[in-house]
């Protein structure tokens, strides 16, 4: 059982550490920015007060020509607490906040080789959206 609440500055070290462990990249400033007023940054906390996971997103209008939608920027769950619905609780809490802001769509971008996270979002009912991401190597 976890509790979902807004992330605070005091959560940042644990958030950064979990993300660094799972992705191999250290980006404390990025997580600091997620505490900004327009962002929705939520954590899941165990009954012992440990970080079980987090989710971050924002409502953005006319991004890439699209009307307002809630964007999920990041979600990470402590691996030993996975398959217990923590990710679903975080996602649902974020979606509820997006709905409260009046948007009717939620979007994200996922690495197409990351089948774990793709499966997670599919299980939440997400399907391929209207946009295709394009990319070019500039090196």
């Amino acid at each position: 059982m976890v509790a979902i609440r807004l992330a605070q500055a005091s959560d940042l070290p644990a958030i950064s550490a979990l993300d660094r462990r799972l992705t191999g990249s250290d980006k404390p400033q990025y997580w600091q920015d997620m505490l900004g007023p327009d962002r929705h940054f939520l954590v899941a906390e165990t009954d012992k007060g440990a970080l079980a996971g987090f989710i971050a997103g924002e409502v953005r209008a006319w991004e890439f020509g699209q009307p307002a939608a809630g964007w999920v920027f990041a979600i990470q769950i402590e691996p030993r607490l996975r398959l217990h619905g923590v990710g679903t609780q975080l996602f649902e809490a974020l979606v509820a906040r997006f709905k409260a802001k009046g948007v009717t769509r939620v979007r994200t971008l996922v690495d197409r080789k990351d089948h774990l996270i793709l499966s997670f979002f599919r299980a939440q009912g997400m399907v391929a959206g209207p946009s295709l991401q394009l990319d070019k190597d500039l090196s």
């Binding site: 089948h115 793709l118 499966s119």
Partner: protein, 137 residues
């Protein structure tokens, strides 16, 4: 995207049986449901049985039931039993030319997106999707 007949029958059979893992259906029942040949379906069911996804009775009236894991089995797991993996595909003539190689890169991009989609959808996700036909079963 066009799937080979065997692949489509494999997906039909697995999804129908995975709806209720306690239920057994014969190859003839499944064939009738999807309007396909029971001979062809029996062959598909043998492939699914070898992969541990279904366990089947013997003979035309023997029932099959789902024995896999709905949450862990993806659509790609079924497709891969019947379709050649992109890397194992026989080389087509002209692929060694610059135009052939450029076309091949585009086709690989499409394959990768198709594979990512199929690999991201578990049987569980598929069966609880909002499509009326899957919910009514």
């Amino acid at each position: 995207m066009k799937l080979q007949t065997g692949t489509r029958l494999g997906l039909y059979a697995v999804l129908e049986l995975a709806r209720d893992p306690e239920r057994t259906l014969s190859a003839a029942d499944l064939a009738e449901r999807f309007g396909v040949s029971s001979h062809h379906l029996a062959k598909v069911l043998r492939t699914l049985g070898s992969a541990g996804l279904v366990r089947g009775g013997r003979g035309a009236s023997g029932g099959y039931r789902f024995t896999g894991n709905r949450r862990r089995t993806t659509l790609m797991d079924i497709v891969a039993l019947f379709e050649p993996a992109p890397g194992q595909r026989a080389k087509e003539s002209g692929e060694d030319t610059d135009i052939g190689a450029a076309l091949q890169r585009v086709l690989m991009e499409i394959d990768e997106i198709a594979e990512a989609t199929l690999r991201s959808i578990s049987l569980e996700t598929m069966l609880k999707s909002k499509g009326p036909s899957l919910r009514s079963g």
